[in-house]
Amino acid sequence: MKKLLIFFSLIILATLQLSWPSALTVFNIKPDLLLIFAVSSVFYFNFKVALAAAIFAGLLKDAFLPSGAAINTLLFSIWSYLTFRLSSQISTENNYIRLAIVLILALLNNAVLGIQSLNSGNFIPVGIFLRNLLISSLYTGAVSPLIFKLNRKLSA
């Protein structure tokens, strides 16, 4: 039942991310709800469930991207694993620590995607690169407490 709820939550979050209202965009940037869910699942569920959620979230995101490579599936799995390893080293009970982890991973995720885009020969102006890297990560971090609440309710 819980797994089914996680599945439906991911579908709803993906739908929300794909049709994010333009009134809620900041400099044309929207938060990465699927990344937040993938990372925060580690805090609330066991690792297997969290990893499955991360893979499914990555697949959902990749399904709507123009490039064929499943880079988000790979990255979300890596972030999920790293968060799991980190949570065994430090206490991740505090919401601020969780928020910081999401923020750092959002920065890393955006940096990897941006560098990969530049590496494949695309021209991205510095201003737009920084906008995508910083504002997107900050917005993702700012929205994360709401997804934490959702995950907490799902895990209860």
């Binding site: 709507f64 991207l65 123009p66 995607l113 885009s117 991205i124």
Partner: protein, 257 residues
């Protein structure tokens, strides 16, 4: 017959004098009486109003609630009507454009946008069943939007021209100067590989060139808003403002070759 006694006449005269006196002094009486009674009457009036207010408060409160609800419903209806009006206008434009256009076009609606900030794409509600195939050009009434990069039975993915991986072979309409228009993820496009002596100026119209394998020749891309020199100093670039507003596309037309 009309003979009155002295006593009666005296009485009548007395009454007349009394009436006269009263009528002379009545304004003073009236004024003082009004002055005396005013506070009481005001107080009673106030109390009556307040009592009536308290008695009818609940009814007024219910009325207010009902009116607020009605206002909200009407406001929503007005909003819906405005939305329908705008949609009607857009669809009318699309239809007239479709009828005038020399291309075979399939109209589609945008159902989703790119889930991340590192690419610029939209998903449309038409796919292979409607004759849409990978590589087809996508436009709207304003100009070029992009090309289909993936198509399933019922939906297709369109890579917009402001995606950095998108390159459109284009020319300046006035001077026929050739260049390559690239996306930059921002609201503007960049026309690159322009020679130092390129015949291009601010305000020039940029259209697709016949060298393009994907796009039909002559599709409007946008207008030059700025010209600069590349970092290498070997060539120049032009900043193009797309004719179509890429951030708020709702309906598109796919060109079927």
């Amino acid at each position: 017959m009309f003979k009155l006694s002295r006593k009666t006449i005296t009485s009548l005269l007395l009454i007349a004098c009394l009436v006269l006196l009263v009528s002379i002094f009545s304004p003073f009486f009236k004024n003082s009486a009004q002055k005396t009674f005013k506070p009481h009457l005001s107080l009673i009036g106030l109390l009556k109003r307040e009592c009536a207010g308290i008695i009818f408060y609940h009814r007024n409160m219910l009325d207010l609630g009902r009116l607020k609800y009605e206002t909200e419903v009407l406001r929503r209806k007005l909003f819906d009507l405005r939305e329908v009006e705008q949609e009607n206008l857009r669809l009318k434009n699309l239809l007239s454009f479709k009828q005038k256009s020399p291309f075979r076009l399939v109209a589609a609606r945008v159902i989703a946008r790119s889930p991340d900030s590192w690419s610029s794409s939209v998903t449309i509600d038409r796919g292979r069943y409607s004759g849409i195939r990978r590589g087809m050009a996508v436009i709207n009434t304003m100009g070029l939007l992009g090309r289909v990069v993936e198509s399933s039975e019922t939906i297709s993915k369109v890579l917009l021209i402001n995606d950095p991986s998108q390159g459109v072979s284009s020319i300046v309409q006035r001077s026929r100067q050739e260049g390559l228009v690239n996306g930059s993820l921002g609201s503007n496009l960049i026309m690159r590989y322009l020679p130092d002596d390129a015949q291009i100026m601010i305000g020039d119209i940029i259209i697709t060139s016949e060298l393009s394998q994907v796009y039909p020749k002559g599709l409007l891309i946008g207008k030059v808003v700025n010209i600069g020199k590349e970092f290498s100093g070997l060539s120049r670039y032009a900043v193009i403002k797309p004719a179509a507003d890429l951030s708020s596309i709702e309906e598109v037309l796919v060109i079927i070759p």
